[in-house]
Amino acid sequence: MLDADFFRRWMTATAVSVEHEAERLTALDSPIGDADHGSNLQRGFRAVATVLEKDEPGTPGAVLTLAGRQLISTVGGASGPLYGTLLRRTGKALGDAAEVDEQEFAQALRTGVDAVMQLGGAAPGDKTMIDALLPAVDALGQSFAAARSAAEEGAQATTPLQARKGRASYLGERSIGHQDPGATSSALLIAALAETAGE
């Protein structure tokens, strides 16, 4: 069973991973974006770690809802409302249960990913975070480790794609050949999840 502490540790692990990878995320965002993905997420997840320490939300749903709100209010780029919506909707779907099992969490995360697709209007293959998140959610039914592999593969598979959403889409064919920064950070989020689960 997964409790509030598990989700707090997931968010903290994500914050640590984003700190480590911020430069790489920004470098990926330079040729096809506005070179702020790493620094934006760094600011956002630092704020998430701080607020979770201060407020100590007591349920899995409350942890993710609070984290999501914090991202929406601190990131300042498109990744804020997108990741914020992902976590907030996932958190809301978990309700106020003190503990959730892996299947309940997988289902809630799917609700969150659906909300992101609705918000951004992205479909699989558009070279976005969805290309890492959807395979991860599909694999989460097997194990956290499978989800991590699926997310990583999904992120890498964005390289030959042409962007159809966001600023990168203005580049047309010139967006081909670059791994999508949003899919890359989504893979970090799922890797942190697997790490937190000890897988």
Binding site: G77, R88, L119, G120, G166
Partner: protein, 147 residues
């Protein structure tokens, strides 16, 4: 920055006016479009208009705090029309609307071109139109072809 460009003047019949919020990645763009729209709305009754531009820290980006503050500042109880430029400005407003309690009741993201839509929204809101009419006027700006 979040600038209340115009606090709004009471309508002749004391009716409440729809507020307009202009959200851009750039503080200068948001403030300038607000200035343009209020300037073109004429010298009579003017709807409340606020600009929410930039990341709140002097850079380009979107600030949910500025957007919330701007919407609260122009809310007179008749609804608030929010116009945005692109990308994170659109997504942030949508995410705030989905929150449910971050923006005044009857706040709408209006699907309109930023500059032309802002002028149409401020002019109609200043004329005392309701939120649906303000939204329709702003959206209609998409149909105005220049060539």
């Amino acid at each position: 920055m979040s600038d209340l460009v115009n606090a709004g003047t009471a309508g002749g019949d004391g009716g409440k006016l729809v507020g307009v919020v202009l959200v851009s990645h750039s503080a200068a763009v948001a403030a300038s479009v607000a200035e343009l729209a209020t300037g073109l709305a004429g010298g009579g009754t003017l709807a409340p208009v606020a600009a929410a531009g930039g990341d709140g820290d002097g850079g380009l980006g979107t600030s949910s705090e500025l957007i919330s503050a701007a919407a609260a500042a122009v809310d007179r109880g008749a609804g608030v029309a929010v116009l945005t430029d692109l990308g994170s400005a659109v997504l942030t407003v949508k995410a705030l609307l989905a929150e449910g309690d971050e923006l005044p009741p009857d706040t709408r993201l209006v699907d309109a071109p930023f500059v032309e839509g802002a002028v149409a929204a401020v002019v109609t809101a200043s004329a005392g139109a309701d939120l649906a009419a303000v939204e329709a006027a702003a959206a209609e700006a998409y149909t105005y072809r220049k060539v």
